[in-house]
Every structure is written in structure tokens, then in C-alpha cells.
Symmetry: C2
Subunit: 271 residues, 2 copies
């Protein structure tokens, strides 16, 4: 039986998603839990990798549950959670058609990059956000976002060393919204949400940095346009740190999950 | 020179605020940083203790800076921050009149208790909030809050074993607001903000539990009223866990800090 999982993790103490020789990974922890729970090893296919330190609220993956295991698909989540470390949890599980592949079937991913504005570090915000010393202008950030939306060659928005067939991607939306002051006066920040059909290595982190640099005037809109035209990574600023990045959700043509109650005020959408 | 500090800490790995023989404490870390930075030991006076595991976005404390130290009061924060561990930071520092005592001068404290509603644990929310399996009714929570506001004998809302002169306190406001879905679909929760002239041991955690239990129908409003009248702790539910609690701010008759830029949309208030 092909089982899809919606997985949430705190990336702080992970060497990323993908299994590797050394280092604790989310995929590795999930595969260990599956073998422990069901007595048979399985390869877990994620919608994509996340880097060391990157978090996920709704990563999606799938695996083949060994034949003969008698368990309701919705309870696979609980069977795995009792064996998983505290920083990773399966939020939902469901049976999916054999053809479903969490990576190849994915149509859309949404990432959030979080920064907070403060002269000094805030220990309550440091785990999932990055301190930004200046207060950017949201209108200028939005103007940068408008340039990035659509189908473009995002070669300039990718870290060197990655090899992919094409660097063309479609960004459906990019938005910077003020982050309401949650804990501390003066800690107001920004949530930069980016939705697209796929992302190059470090692409969201470079996009977030470009939007913030436009917001402070450090980077001009024309330089962003030129980066898109020329693919010149040098025109843009540094890649923002991993810990500010969270994979929010992955969407598929069909709805996979949906047995969890939907929070009031939200419209259920195909995922 | 009498120096006031506004301090933020992640309480997860602290045995609370107050110095004790064994265990890492916030007061202890601050006193160590002061001695290291200025070469003279000083006793730090907090607005009050916080328990093991409780967080603070805006704890206030003060200490006597040794004579002869040449430093701008606003830079004391930076001098201490370079010596503090990552989970505690001084957000602001200022010179205050000799008569200022962070504990005795405090007029008002605001605490936040955070819960999230989910069938399963969410690793991105677990650090600063407590999972609540049921979705409470906000109107019933508000009705409970109305009973708690005002001057009352809160004996029933205090853990046994604490010895205080009086168990009468004034709660200026108690509110339960929906917590907008930050990371994960389905993780919507509640922020319970309580403001008062002072709180008994575990009082906010017991109040939050009572409000939530009223919200799910587990506790009746008449039982809450009876608890206030009789002081019977047994009428109320369990004390909620420490990690969901954050001391947001402490207010004083005069404004102490104010050199930090105020976030847009917020009105500066005396603190």
C-alpha cells in the first residue's frame, strides 16, 4: 500500500532532509521509524530535499507499506510518531494511489522566510527567524516581489555548484507581510511567503535576501531585473541563513489528506 | 548608578529566574555577566521570579553598577550580551533613579499562555506552546475570563505550599484570542493574555487551564465562581505546563526604556 505522510520538523538539529553517510536526517529518522514499526525497511520519497537547518510545517513524502501489515492508513502517523524523536512528527497519513510519487507528483510548494527587526538578538525569535538590523520598506519589497513572480530563468537565484537540467522556474506568488508583534515590543518582522512550481538550490533564501535588500535600498530593482536577464549571481546579496526558512506546504493535483478538522476561517484546498 | 534591564529569555533550559544552589538560572547568568563585564559582583533584582521552563519577552530587573565604571547606560545591554549564553539577552538598558526597585516599583505584569489545537504534537510549536487536544469555544473562555477580572481572593488559583501575606490580587484584564495559523494548517491555537497587579504562584497557569476547561465544557462557570468564593483549589483543573507561559511585560509608573524604535502601529506606553 502506498502511504503518503505530512511531516513537520524543527530543522535545527538535522543535517537536512536527505539521508547521508554522516549526520542525522529527517528521511533517515522516518525510515528508521518505519522499519521499527512495521518490521520491513522502506525508502521514503520526499517532495524534495530541505537543507540543513531548514524547517518544515508540511513536508510531504510517501513510502510503500509492506504487504500484510494490518493498519488503518490514518493510524500510520501514530505508529511512527511513537518511534520518532521529538523534533519530527507525522501530522497526517493517508493511502494514495500507487502512481503517487511525493516528488514527481508535486505541483506547487510554498516556503516562508521569517526575519525579525531588532538591534539585538531575541532568544524567543532566534530559533525560527533571522535577525535583520534594518527596518525595510514593505512597498519596495513588494516591488521586488512583482519582478520575481512569473516564469523566469532563476540562474542568478541559485547557489553555484548545483546541477539541474533547467534553471527556469515559475513563481506563482511572492509576498512580504508584516509579522505581527508576537512576544516582544520592537520585534516586529516580516514573513516572506513564496509559492512556485519548484525551486533551485537556495533560491528562496536568495529571493528573500533580494527582497529585503530592495526594502532597505541596498539593492535596486534594476539590479534585480538584470540578475534575472543575465543569470549573474554576483548582482545579488548573500544567501540568507537556513534557520529562517520553513517549507509550509506542498500541493498535488488531488487532495491527499483531509481527515483532520480544518481550522475555522480556512477554506480547505487541494493539497 | 542604578541600571534597569529589559531581559528576554527562552526558559526551556533554565531552572527558572532565581539563583539557586543547583541549576542554571537567568538571575545567575546575569550576575555572572555583570561580574565579568564590570569586575564587580552585583545582586540583580527581578520584577519577580519565573518558574523553571517559563519564558520572558520582557522581564525587567535592576542592579547597582559599581562606581567608577565609565559606560553609557544604554550600552550596558551590549556589554552584558557578549557574555550571556544565547538563550538570554538584554534587549534594553537604562539609568534609573536610585529609588527604583524592579520588584517593589512594579505596577502591572502581563503574561501570555499559548496553546495550540491539534490531535498530534507539532515540533514547530512545542517549544513555546502546549498542545490542547480539543478546540474550545472562545465565547465560553471569554465568559470565564470576565469572572476572573477584577479584585478577588485568588487562593483557589494558587499552588499549595506558597506562603504569601494575602491571596487577594487584581486582574485588570484576561483575554483569550485566536492564534492565527502560523506554520501548519490545523495548528490554530489560543493566546491567553492576563494582566494584573501581581500573581500568586502558578496563578496564570491555573487561570489558563480554567479558561480552557470552560471552553470545552469540562468546567462550569459556576464552579469557577465557587472557587473564587471558597478558595478551594480542588474545584479547578490541573496546573498547565510551564513552557506555554511567557512573561510579556512589566509596567512601572514611569517610562524606563524608550530608546528603541517603536514598531509601526504601536503606541508607546509607559513601561
Amino acid at each position: 500500500m502506498n502511504i503518503a505522510l505530512r511531516v513537520c520538523y524543527d530543522g535545527t538539529n538535522f543535517s537536512g532532509w536527505q539521508v547521508q553517510a554522516n549526520g542525522r536526517t529527517v528521511q533517515g529518522e522516518l525510515e528508521r521509524a518505519i522499519e521499527g514499526a512495521f518490521g520491513a525497511s522502506a525508502r521514503v520519497t520526499g517532495s524534495g530535499r530541505t537543507d540543513a537547518g531548514v524547517h518544515a510545517a508540511g513536508q510531504v513524502c510517501n513510502f510503500a507499506l509492506a504487504d500484510g501489515i494490518r493498519i488503518s492508513p490514518e493510524r500510520v502517523a501514530d505508529a511512527l510518531n511513537v518511534r520518532l524523536p521529538a523534533d519530527v512528527r507525522v501530522l497526517e497519513s493517508a493511502a494514495v494511489p500507487d502512481a503517487f510519487d511525493a516528488c514527481r507528483s508535486a505541483k506547487q510548494k510554498t516556503y516562508r522566510y521569517s526575519v525579525y527587526f531588532s538591534r539585538r538578538e531575541n532568544p524567543l525569535l532566534e530559533r525560527y527567524a533571522v535577525r535583520f538590523g534594518e527596518r525595510p520598506d514593505f512597498a519596495r519589497m513588494a516591488a521586488c516581489a512583482r519582478l520575481l513572480e512569473g516564469e523566469h530563468d532563476f540562474a542568478a537565484f541559485s547557489s553555484t555548484g548545483s546541477s539541474v537540467k533547467t534553471t527556469v522556474r515559475t513563481v506563482y506568488s511572492a509576498e512580504a507581510a508584516p509579522w505581527a508583534d508576537e512576544y516582544a515590543e520592537g520585534a516586529l518582522g516580516a514573513h516572506i511567503d513564496v509559492c512556485g512550481n519548484g525551486f533551485l538550490y537556495n533560491m528562496v533564501r536568495i529571493m528573500a535576501g533580494a527582497m529585503l535588500d530592495c526594502g532597505t535600498g541596498k539593492l535596486s530593482l534594476s539590479a534585480v531585473g538584470e540578475a534575472l536577464r543575465t543569470g549573474d549571481r554576483e548582482l545579488l546579496g548573500k544567501t540568507m541563513p537556513a534557520k529562517g526558512l520553513t517549507l509550509l506546504s506542498v500541493r498535488y493535483p488531488q487532495q491527499i489528506f483531509g481527515r483532520e478538522p480544518v481550522p475555522a476561517g480556512e477554506t480547505p484546498q487541494g493539497e
